[in-house]
């Protein structure tokens, strides 16, 4: 079986991480010190948070953490509803994305940590740590309720359980949690760093790739290293490594731009229906709502007259805020689209009036 390059060349140790090397060294010191705190690892997607976390785990527990199994666990809510959630675990750690459980994230978080903390280490070997690690991903999606629960749980079980929290943005994370963790910022790698990494990979793959193409790829991915490596491999597979070749833009990005064009092209019920289909499709293919909002707004704003931009953004922010308050994302996205169409149409009419 041939691994994708992104997986094949993923660094496995803190000492082999290619960038933010000073930070990697400091994380090593932290592990050595023995008194390991809860961590809050944050940064944009594709910047390498997950890789770094796996390296930390390996530094803590050794190669045992690489023997991963995936397992579904079932948690029973107080109202006797059963929630199933996927986990990835080793003998030393368990990883879940609590927001998979939707509004039941609180129950899942509490239940899981309690279980872990109460289960004693089974395989006793020497230099065993006294704790297991729970990795929670996308904690910026946790409900406030779950965050408050988490805060209490993390103090209560701090003896034999450490948390590594992973997030894109710190904004929605309550101060009480932030202050109980050591923050680890993982900024996106620079264009030069990305270039160095992909040229290294290409060398190992015996792939001759022109420096200009490397640079072009690195510049096109907006700091997302994962994407850069994927594109690079795709170019290789297509057998097209011409320096002036076109680089693929993510399908969903293209699709959102098309959606924006539909919206500004004509403001009508029919078009609203078309846009609805688009939004459904985007959500169904797992594009996070905030990304859809961000790309859509960017595309729309660039098509707007400067005069109406403030109001458009005011509305965008209002509808997005409501979206996070409610649970049905699509409703608020649609509402925003309709509102936008109205503003846009009125502005066009105003312009015509002046003639």
């Amino acid at each position: 079986m041939s691994l994708l390059w992104v997986d094949k060349y993923r660094p496995k140790d803190l000492s082999t991480l290619d960038y933010h090397t000073q930070q990697a060294q400091e994380l090593k010191n932290l592990v050595e010190h023995g008194d390991f705190p809860h961590l809050l690892v944050y940064g944009p997607s594709g910047a390498g948070k997950k890789t770094r976390i796996m390296c930390i785990l390996k530094e803590l527990f050794g190669t045992g953490v690489e023997r991963l199994k995936s397992e579904n666990i079932t948690v029973t809510t107080p109202s006797n509803k059963k929630v199933e959630i996927m986990t990835i675990n080793s003998n030393y750690h368990i990883e879940i994305n609590p927001s998979d459980a939707g509004i039941y994230d609180r129950v899942v978080v509490m239940d899981l940590i309690k279980k872990i903390a109460q289960s004693q280490q089974i395989a006793i070997t020497n230099n065993q740590r006294e704790f297991k690690v729970v990795v929670l991903t996308e904690v910026d999606n946790l409900t406030k309720d779950a965050q408050h629960a988490l805060r209490r749980t993390m103090e209560k079980y701090s003896r034999n359980c450490r948390l590594i929290l992973c997030a894109t943005s710190l904004s929605p994370i309550i101060p009480a949690i932030q202050s109980r963790c050591l923050p680890i910022r993982v900024p996106a790698p620079t264009i030069e760093e990305i270039s160095t990494i992909i040229s290294k990979i290409c060398k190992k793959e015996d792939t001759a790739i022109p420096a200009t193409l490397i640079e072009k790829i690195s510049k096109s991915v907006n700091g997302n290293l994962r994407r850069a490596i994927l594109i690079c491999e795709a170019c290789k597979v297509e057998n097209n490594l011409q320096p002036n070749r076109e680089l693929p833009e993510p399908d969903w990005k293209v699709f959102i731009k098309q959606t924006a064009t539909i919206i500004t092209h004509r403001q009508s019920i029919e078009n609203i229906m078309v846009v609805r289909e688009h939004l459904y499709e985007l959500l169904a293919s797992g594009i996070p709502p905030e990304i859809i909002f961000k790309e859509l707004i960017t595309a729309l704003v660039l098509k707007c007259d400067k005069q109406i931009i403030p109001q458009v953004l005011q509305e965008a922010s209002t509808y997005e805020y409501r979206m996070w308050q409610g649970n049905k994302h699509i409703v608020h996205m649609e509402a925003f689209v309709v509102k936008f169409m109205c503003l846009y149409q009125r502005h066009l009419k105003d312009l015509l009036k002046d003639f």
């Binding site: 930070q23 400091e26 999606n141 904004s171 909002f293 707004i297 953004l313 109205c342």
Partner: protein
């Protein structure tokens, strides 16, 4: 203060009645905030009023019900714990009940616990034969997180147990505590700590723990902790652990552990907001900011400082921008809308600063009249 530091380090019993009853084996891994907690009320810095009243209480061997309020890390918990230690000596662990108001769901649980606790008998002498007050103290942390109904229920509990039990409520915002409760307590406000006190304390810790840090960097750490001693001590310990023994803590370390946004980023953003910049430029900037993963809430805090300090912005405009800033920052904390909210803030600030007020008023009126009906075509 020097005495407590030494004692804290070695964990030795001393001649003073403030002997620590804490287990000694774990001192190595004890977080510094615990290790360097004041052992006596005299060790508490800054909070003069509370300290002097408590000193009187310790002499008189009695306590009123207390309410301590103020920002985090200013010594509320430490003060009452130290007082309890001095009142009860070795017995202090048995004589206090620490409850976290937001800990247990519902007042029922809290009341049960308090009831059981206050029915325990408290002797008026200690194991060593010294006298101590026949009292117990219930410490209710985060009292402002309790609902008003729960607070009302607590009031009855407080009255019932007055003979044997004193209450000490701790909270950040006194305005969230109902009047019948506040009126039953002696209130003390805990001020954010003066930077010089925090600095002094940290310097002492650095000495004892062999931490290498230059004074100007330590000063930054103190400043960025904003008068919160817990934050300052935790940050210092994190930096020290990241560095390992023998290397100096750098400015970057301090910035990272306290999630500081370098001022050049905030400066550039504020500049973009103040002039009629191109929307593309602003979008690009926010993108870059997100790539760097700097916490956006910190950006808002800085912006607020800039706004307050700018002398060439009219007060009325300032208040308009301030309102928008509050809205954007609040909305950011409620979901994952950093991008939209920051862009919205930038564009509005720009509009407020560059468009004449009259025109914006007219526009607002127009917008208010406008209803969302799509003219179908």
């Amino acid at each position: 203060m020097q005495a407590f530091l030494k004692m804290g380090k070695l964990g030795e019993p001393s001649a003073s009645p403030s002997t620590s009853g804490a287990p000694k084996k774990k001192t190595k891994n004890l977080p510094w905030v615990e290790k360097y907690r004041p052992k006596t009320v005299e060790d508490v810095v800054e909070q003069r009023e509370a300290v002097s009243v408590l000193q009187q209480c310790i002499l008189g061997a009695d306590l009123p019900n207390l309410l301590f309020y103020g920002p985090p890390g200013t010594g509320k918990t430490s003060t009452i714990l130290a007082a309890a230690r001095q009142l009860f000596g070795d017995l202090y662990k048995e004589r206090i009940l620490e409850l976290n108001a937001s800990d247990e769901r519902g007042i029922q649980v809290i009341r049960e616990k308090i009831k059981t606790f206050s029915q325990l008998t408290a002797n008026s002498s200690r194991a060593d034969g010294k006298l101590c007050p026949a009292l117990k103290i219930v410490i209710l942390d985060e009292a402002d997180a309790m609902t008003h109904a729960a607070q009302a229920a607590l009031r009855r509990t407080m009255e019932k147990e007055t003979k044997t039990t004193r209450f000490c409520l701790l909270c950040n915002y006194v305005s969230r505590i109902i009047e019948p409760l506040t009126s039953r307590c002696t209130k003390f406000r805990f001020k954010p700590l003066n930077q010089s006190f925090v600095l002094e304390r940290l310097q002492e810790i650095c000495q004892v723990e062999d931490v290498l840090i230059n004074d100007d960097i330590l000063n930054v750490l103190v400043k960025e902790s904003g008068g919160d001693m817990r934050r300052a001590i935790t940050a210092l310990q994190s930096c020290a652990n990241l560095k390992g023994k023998g290397s100096h803590i750098t400015l970057e370390n301090v910035y990272e552990v306290l999630t500081v946004v370098p001022s050049k980023w905030v400066n550039s953003f504020w500049d973009l907001c103040k002039k009629p910049s191109d929307i593309k430029e602003i979008i690009q900037f926010i993108d870059d900011l997100e790539q760097q993963a700097y916490p956006i809430q910190k950006v808002y805090e800085h912006l607020n400082d800039f706004l307050m300090d700018s002398e060439n912005i009219d007060d009325r405009l300032k208040s308009e921008i301030g309102e928008k800033l509050a809205e954007s920052s609040f909305r950011s904390s409620c979901g994952r809308g950093d991008f939209t909210n920051l862009l919205d803030f930038a564009v509005h600030t720009q509009e407020i600063l560059t468009e004449p007020l009259e025109r914006r008023r007219m526009q607002a009126l127009e917008n208010a009249k406008f209803t969302t009906i799509l003219g179908l075509s």
